[in-house]
Symmetry: C2
Amino acid sequence: MTDIASLIRSQCEAAREASRSLAKLDRAQKDAALHQIAKRLREHAAEVLESNRKDVERARNIVSEAMLDRLKLDEGRLEGVAQAVERIAELDDPVGEVTSMRNRPNGLLVGRVRIPLGVIAMIYEARPNVTVDAAALCIKSGNAVVLRGGSEAAESNRTLGELVRRGLEDAGLPADAVQIVKPGEREATRAMLGMTGLIDLIIPRGGEGLIRFVTENARVPVIQHYKGVCHLFLDHGCDEEMAMRLVVDGKAVRTGVCNALECLLVHEGEAARLLPKLHALAERHGIELRACERSIAHLPSAKAATAEDFGQEFLAKVLAVRVVDDLDGALAHIARYGSGHTEAICTESHSHAQRFLREVDASCVLVNASTRFNDGGELGLGAEIGISTSKLHAYGPMGLESLTTTKWIVYGRGQTRG
Amino acid sequence: MTDIASLIRSQCEAAREASRSLAKLDRAQKDAALHQIAKRLREHAAEVLESNRKDVERARNIVSEAMLDRLKLDEGRLEGVAQAVERIAELDDPVGEVTSMRNRPNGLLVGRVRIPLGVIAMIYEARPNVTVDAAALCIKSGNAVVLRGGSEAAESNRTLGELVRRGLEDAGLPADAVQIVKPGEREATRAMLGMTGLIDLIIPRGGEGLIRFVTENARVPVIQHYKGVCHLFLDHGCDEEMAMRLVVDGKAVRTGVCNALECLLVHEGEAARLLPKLHALAERHGIELRACERSIAHLPSAKAATAEDFGQEFLAKVLAVRVVDDLDGALAHIARYGSGHTEAICTESHSHAQRFLREVDASCVLVNASTRFNDGGELGLGAEIGISTSKLHAYGPMGLESLTTTKWIVYGRGQTRG
C-alpha cells in the first residue's frame, strides 16, 4: 500500500471507531456538539477567512469566475454556515425512531428501529460550506464522516474541519468522527472508493465526470446525482397564465441549477394559443428557444432544434420546445429524454394529473408547480446532503433520514422456532 | 463486445422495456399473472420433473450430497413452489403506497409514493425453486427480473423460466419481464455486473466467494449477504431453562443455516450455574463445544478453543463458548467477532435488554428469543428474496417492500419558487 492509501485507511479506521460511539448518543449530546461547532465557527471567523483568502488568491486566474464565487467566503456567508449548523440541531433526530412494531402469532414483538449507516464519505468540489454542512448532517444522524473536498478549497477546508473537530471535543464527542482527507491526487479518491467494511456510503457531489469516476471505481455503495434534464408539459386546457409563470420560474430565475427547466412540451391543441405567449415571454426574459418543426412556425425568433437539443441540460437561458400529440406523447418524450430528476405537468385534467404522477419515472413529479421545488428544503426535509437520481438507497433529495437504515428488533419470552 | 455480453445486454434491454409496463400495473393484473404461473407449474409438472431429472443425473458424483438434495425436485416440492407463488399473490402490493403526504407552508401538498426499483438481477446457485420465488416476488413488486441460476440446475431453470414467461403471457403481461440467462462462464456474470442503466440492483445468493466476486466487479448496486456468525449472551440472572432452550433451538435443530448459533457468551457470575447444564445438553444433542480458558473447567469434554474458533461460521454442530465479565464484555466480543447478521441476549434485566437492542450493530437483535427467528417469514414479511448484511439499501430479511423505492409527488396550484 502506498503512503497515501495507508494514511486514508488509518483515517477511515479512526472514523469507523468513532462511529461506534456516535451511534449510541442521545439527541441532546449531538445537538450540544452542533452548537459548539457553530460557536467555534463564529469565534474563529478571522482564521477561516484568512485561510479562504489564500485559497481564493491561488485559484484566481485558474478557475472560472463562477467557481471563484462558490469558493469565496465572507463574514455574511460564514455566519450563514454557522446558522445552518444550528438549524440542523433543531431538526428531529432520526436515530432510534421505531418505524414499526407488531405482534406475531407466536407472541414475539417484532419491530424496526432507525440506526445510523456508520461512516459516510463525501467527495465534492469547490464550495467550502459543504464541509460544515455535511459534517453537521452526519453528526446529527449519528454517522462519522470522511470529507474530501476540492484542492481549490484546501486551506479553507482544513481550517473549517479543525474547528468542527474541536467543537466535537468541546462537547465530549470524539473528534475522529470527522476526518478531512488532504485533497490532491486521484489516488486518494481511489483509495477511499475501495474501503469496503470501513465506509458504508459514498456521496460524490460535482460534475458528471467525478460522479462517473466514482461509480466506476467504487467497491462501496455510491449515491449518484447525475444531471437534471427537467421537462414541463403544458396539457390541453391548461391555465395559460399559470403555464407562463411556471416557465419563467423554471427557466429565467436561476439557470445553473439541476432543477431548472430544460424542455417545454406543448399539447398540439394548445400550440396556437400558448406558443405566441411563450415567444413574447422569451423575448422579455432573454430566453433562447430551440423549437421543433411543429412549433417553430409560432416562434418566429426561435432557432430550429437539433436532435441534441432534446435531453440536453443547458444550464443556461436556453429552452428546447416540442409540440406533442397528447399526454402519451409527452410521457414517451420524458421516458426517452428525461434524466429521472424532476418532471412537471400543467393541467386542469384530474385524470391526466394522476396518470402523470403515476407513470413518470423521476425522483420528483409535480402537478401545477415549478420544477424548482425539487429541493430538500422546499420539500420539507430541513436540510439536504444531496439529490439522488439513482433509486438506491434514496431517490431525490436526501435529508437526515437518508443517512440512516433500520435494523430489526425482537422482544420474546423464550420462544424457539423448532 | 463478445457474443455472450451482447446476448445478455439484449436480455437486459428487453427486461428494462418490460419493466416500464410492469410498473404501471394494478395489483389485480399482477396477481392474475401469479395465479396463471402457479397453474402452468401444476399443468406442466411432468416437464419440470423431467428437466430436473436430467440435471440431477448430470450433477450426481460431481456435487455434494447436500447440494444434490437442494437441486432435486419431486411432485411435493413442485407443489410447494406453486403454493409459494399463490401466497405471494395474497400479500399486499407495496407499489403505490403513499408513505407520507404533508402540506407545506406555501400550500404545496408534498408526498412520497412507493415505486418498483425497475430491473432486479439475481445470481444464485443450486436450488431451482429460487427461479420461481424470485420471479414471483419481482412481478408482485412491479419489477422485471434477470435470473442467472447455477449451471447444475440449467435444465430445470430453463423449463421453470419458460413456464413463468408463459404464465405472464396468459395474463396479458410481457413475458420479457422474466429473463433466464444461460448459466456457464463467469463472463456472463461479469457482463451482468456492468449493466449500468439497465439493471437497478443485483442480489447474489450463494457462497462467500460468489458474493465477493459480485461485490468487487459490480458497477450496479449489490445487496450483500455474507456469513452469519450469530451469538447468544446468557446474562447474569437469566432464566436457566430458557437459556438452554435457546441454545438447543439455535444449534441443534438446523445447523447449515445462516441464523444458527455459532458462539455462546456466558456472564462470569453464571459460569458455575449454567456451564454444567450446557455440558449435559451438548452431550445429549451431540454438540461439540470449543471452550475458552475461563469456561473449560466446567466443560470436561470440550475442546480448548483456538483464536479461529471465535468469529467462525461452523455450519455444523460445533459451538464456541466464552465467559465474559459482563454485558460490556459481551458487547465488545460481538462488536469484534459478529457479522452484522443476528445477535441475541437471554436476560431478565430490563436495562440490559434495552442496551443490547440499542448498542448491537446487527440486522436483527433479539431479546429472549432464538436467533433462528431472523427470517422473512418469521418476522412477518410473508416471503423473502434474501437477507442483507449490508446496510444499503436494506438491512436484514428483504420482502416485497425491499424491492421498491419511493419517489416524491407534489400537488400545486401554480406555485413558483422565485
